[in-house]
Structure formats: C-alpha cells, structure tokens
Subunit: 264 residues, 3 copies
C-alpha cells in the first residue's frame, strides 16, 4: 500500500496538474507554495467573468470558504458549475462549518453541487453532516472520533464525496471503507493553513489519480509525513512552516515509506 | 512587574482566546500565525451576513484598516457594533492614518465607536489625534516622541482607549500613566506586519487580562522581546520573520525576564 | 556595467522610494517584504476613494493583475490615471495573460495607459503582444525565446515600455537594445511570487534611477542574483523563500559583482 502511495506522489510530480484554488486570504501564499513544492501548479482566480474559462484550463478546483463573502460565494458557484460541466474534480474545505448560519447555508448549497471530496477537522465534518441531515436521523455515538466517522459516512452516502477528517489521526472515509493514518506532529496545529494545504494537495492528487480513495490517502499521507519529518528539525511554528515546504519538495521514497503509519 | 507580565503571557496560553481579525491582506497570514504562536486562536472573517454571529463566539476583535475598502469598512462597523453590544474588547490599528482623507474619515467614525485600545507608530497616533481634535487645541511640543505621547493621552482621555505607540521605544499610555519598553531590534522594521502582529497580540491579551494597561504592556513586551531574541540568530528579515514566530512559541520565563527592559 | 548596477542598488537603499502595489492576494506579503529587504517602502491600497491621494504620496506604482476582479480593475485604472497625471512611473505585471479573455481585455485597456515597464514570463509577454497586434502582423520565429524578444520589441515600440522577460535567462528589452542576464536558480520556479517580487523591485528602481533600462537591468539582476546565492544554502523552496529575503537585505558588493552574469 505504501509503495502505491509513493507511486501516486511521483505521478503528481510528473503530471504537474494545474489546480485552481478559490480559497481564503490567510492561506493563499502557503497553499500555492504547497502545491508547487509537491510538483503541482497553482492558479488563484475568482473574477466572475473568467470563472468558466479559467476552470476549462485547470485539472481540479479547490473551494475553501475560510474568508467567504457574497462575491466570492458567487465565484465559487460559477467555478463549481464549470468544473461539473467539464467533469473536473472539485474539493470542498468547509472552514468554520457550524460557526455561523451564513457558512452553513453556503455549505449546504455547495454540497448539493456534489464535491468530489471534502476535507475538514472533526468538528467541521460533524457540523456539515448535522446541518444537512433530516432532524429525525440523529448522530448517536459516545466517541467524538467515531461520531465524525459516522458523519463522514453520511456525507459520502448522501453526496458521493470522499471525506478526509484531519486530526491527530487522519481518517479517510469513502465507499471503499475507512483508512486511518497516524502521522503529523502536534506543532502543526500552531501554524495556520495546514489543513488548507492538505486540501489543495488532495485536489492535485485527485486530478491525476483515477482512484479517488487512493488519491485521498496519498495526499493526506504526504502532508502529514512531511509535517512529521519537518518537525524533527524545527524549533517552533515558524521554522516548521518553512521546513514543511522544503520537505514536500525533497522527501525521499525511503523517508516516506519509513515514516508513513497506516493503522490496521 | 516583569513577573506579572510573564504571568499574563502564560495566562493567554492557558485560556487560548479566540480573536477575530478584520485586517489587511498583506499580514493576514503572519497575524494568524503570531496569535497561534502566542497560544491564542485566530479567526478571519468579514462577510456582512456573519459579522454579528461571528463576533458572538470570539473573545476580542482586531480592526486593522491597512487595505480597507467600502465593503470592508462596513464589515468593520458591523463587527465593532457586535463587539460593543457583547462587551467584548476591540482594538484599532490605524494603518496609514493621515495618508489619505478617506482613511482619516473612516478612522474618525471608528473612534466614535470607542476602541478598547489603539496601537500604531508615532506618526499614525499623531495623525489620529490631530484629525480628531478641535482646531483650537493644538499639539505643542518640540519632541516628536513627546508629541506622540501627548496625542496618545488626548486619545485616551477623549475616547477611553489604552494607546500603544510602537517604535524603538514602545510607549503604553493609559489613565494609569505611561510605561516605556526598550526592546526589539532595528531589523524588525524591514519586515512587513510586525506592528499588525503586535496589535493582534494586544487583542489576545486584553481578551484575557482584566487590567487593560497591564495587558497592553505584556503584549507589547512579548512581541518586542521575541523580536529582539530572534534577531540574535537572524541573517536578515526573512529568517527574522521565521525566528519571531518560533520565539513567540518557545520563549522561556528566564529569557523573558532577562531581556524585558522597562524604562524608569 | 556591473559596478553601475551596484551603484543603482545602493541608491535605492539611500532614497527608499515609496512604492504602491495593487497586486494579487497570493504575493502581497512577499512583495512587501521584498521591497523592504531591498530598502524601499511598500504601500498596499486599493480603495477607490483614496487612489488619487495615495498615488500622490508614492514614487511608483505596481499593477499586478494576478487576482483581478471588477472592483480591483477599477482601482488599477484610477491609480494609473493618477500616476500618469503626476508623471510617476507605473509597472505592469500581466499575470496569466492569455489564460482568459477577461484578462486579455483588461490588459489591453491597461496597455493603452502606457506602462513605464512590463515584466512577465515569455508566454505572458507573447500573449500580451499577440492580443494587441493587428492580425496581419504575425509573429514568425522558430525559437520561442526569440519570439518573446520580438514580442517585447513590439510592445516597446507600440507602447513605449521597457520590457523584462523572466526566465532561465532574463531578457531586458528597450529602445536601448537587449540585455541578457544568466542568474537565478531552477528552485525559484517552485516558489510562488518570485516574478511578482521582481516586478515590485523594478518599480522601486525605476522610481529612483532616471535611466529606465539601467534600472530594469539592475532590479532584475538583484532579484536573480539574490535567488542564486540563497539557493546555495537552501534545502527546498521554503528555506529558499526565506533566504532570498535575507539576501536581498544583506547582499555585499563583492557577492553581487562576482555573481552577476551578463551575456554578451
């Protein structure tokens, strides 16, 4: 399995997919750099008059609602519509799901446009599922991690998306089952936009790899393993951020195979 | 006094306040990372439909007008109104005060909404005071630093805000008096957004510490001391920026106590 | 020649020109930091009500269309109009020229406002020339690099701009002839916004140095040489980004003279 993931990582580098990101202001620079470091090419654009033609030249689309507003939500819908028409994958990052009614309403509309994949932390995935369930079908679980998996399974069944739950253990949920990765480092939570970078990598991998579940596992593993390795030489979140970009670029097959930890 | 400041620093880490920033595009990433490194949690949001509910879940608000426009000014007013209704502190960073009439007008409106604290460099504080004084009460001082202190005192008296004047010596002005800190490093002026990060820390500290003046001194000291310590291992502004984020996270009590310099 | 370029570099530091950038969200932080590291002062502003008065206090203007939209295009036109009225230089960075009809239309309008200089990669310069040529005057060349030079010459003749073509060899084209610089490092292509930083430096140099061609060569050389030197101590794109900011600040005359490579 790990060898297959590494093959996918090298394939992304070879094919260098062009990924359009409609994402939040806070992480645009990191996101573009994470894509470049992993061998993909970033495009950031949001003007309504060019959403259709911009999507046509890209291989995938990231929709990240972190700093949404009315104009940008319309940009998102235009780009998603174009991606769907062109059968291009698009990935939803539901930043702050559950924080405000506005976010939840926008996310509900986006969900009906059927994202290829969704990535968020457990509370975002839970909020997303809760807001889009009928009231009678309550989530009933004692473990919040289990609860998030159930929420992810619901989202996968209802909307067809592969779902990645980021956390100390990253969990990839799809119709193919559940994969758990135990990589990363707690210091990664002290840098903004790590999740957003993971989402962008997810888009690059799904653009290139036909099996969406494998693509999601490979992208998630790459991000977490790069973070874990970089943390070994970091003295704080500043140097970790720099080190992750370095490692996304220079990670070796041996490093990747020796570090990736897939839970049974 | 220094021990008290350190206690405040550890309190911010323990309580991890959620700080909403409506700030400029240039520094959003740094600002979020500075807050995370100091143990707080950042939220960046500006959409009108969610300003009320977003503020309700935050403990403080930063208003930084660096890249303002008509939409964002309205976001600022909506968020400030919500903060005031909820008795949450909000901090004003008057970037570019005095540079254009538009900025001065926006700042005048924001001032009437009574910021809990204001942070800027001497020329911004001077411009802010000048624009909001009656013509007859001229500032009359031979030293520009003294002049800025008088301007800060005026702002404190008229609008009730604690005022932090950033510079080679940082000056905190409030109804409790004047505190001067001699920390930092000249290389910090070669990185964009150091002041904006200081403002964000100020918000995090005021969110948690009941005494606003102490909060302002502690936040200002933390930023300047982290910069001073990081500069010792930097070869230029790039590595200094990285080093400051590291140091905000890993600064020890001994480092802080030994480096902080409060002028008599 | 190299000594002259170094003299220009020190002059920018001495005069510290104020450069307004209307640029894309992805690179604003890097751009501001590159300007600061090279000794200039950045201002980022785009609000319509302040475009006229903001330009009046700046020495140069950068127009970078990377993340354009309708509001920002209007900001660009207002600022360019002000710059032209005040005889201030303005520099065009045609990010993504040729990618969408919207970009090409906006760029055509901006070109008629006569930029002092233009900087882009070969494909952008080619797209810019192609879109603004009459159909009968086709570009006819077997080498894409030669083709880009012809496109640059066309843009110089028709619109009067100095044109910088970024690439493995940077080419500066003006009425004074063609200069080719062979510096930089392939790893620079794995960082977002290197070209945008080069454009910003170009603005700072043209603000201060009367001979536009010399200014363009000096700015282009500084960016490429800083990148080349920083790459020697980098382990990936993250550390290279940090190292370039350091080197823009601490580069010595000897380093610059020994590294700069002007092709005959």
């Amino acid at each position: 399995m790990k060898e297959l993931l590494w093959k996918h990582i090298t394939n992304v580098r070879k094919q260098a997919p062009l990924v359009q990101s409609i994402t939040n202001y806070v992480v645009m620079n990191n996101t573009a750099n994470a894509l470049l470091a992993a061998g993909a090419s970033p495009i950031m654009a949001h003007a309504h008059p060019e959403m259709q033609s911009m999507q046509a030249i890209c291989q995938a689309l990231v929709i990240n609602i972190g700093t949404l507003d009315e104009y940008w939500v319309e940009s998102m819908k235009l780009a998603v519509t174009a991606a769907n028409q062109n059968n291009k994958p698009w990935i939803l990052d539901p930043v702050g799901a559950g924080a405000t009614a506005y976010r939840d309403e926008v996310l509900s509309e986006l969900l009906t446009m059927k994202p290829t994949a969704i990535r968020g932390n457990a509370s975002e995935i839970l909020a997303l599922a809760k807001h889009n369930k009928t009231a009678t079908k309550g989530v009933d679980s004692t473990s919040s991690s289990l609860e998030a998996v159930e929420a992810a399974q619901f989202l996968n069944e209802k909307f067809g998306a592969v779902v990645v739950i980021s956390g100390a253990v990253d969990i990839i949920v799809s119709e193919a089952g559940i994969t758990q990765l135990k990589n990363g480092d707690p210091l990664m939570t002290k840098i903004t936009g790590m999740g957003c970078s993971a989402t962008a990598l997810l888009a690059a991998f799904i653009a290139v790899i036909p099996n969406r579940t494998e693509a999601a596992v490979a992208a998630t593993a790459l991000m977490a393993v790069a973070g874990e390795l970089a943390a070994q030489n970091s003295t704080g979140p500043g140097s970790l951020q720099v080190g992750i970009l370095d490692k996304l670029h220079n990670i070796s097959e041996t490093e990747f195979l020796n570090t990736t930890t897939i839970l049974a």
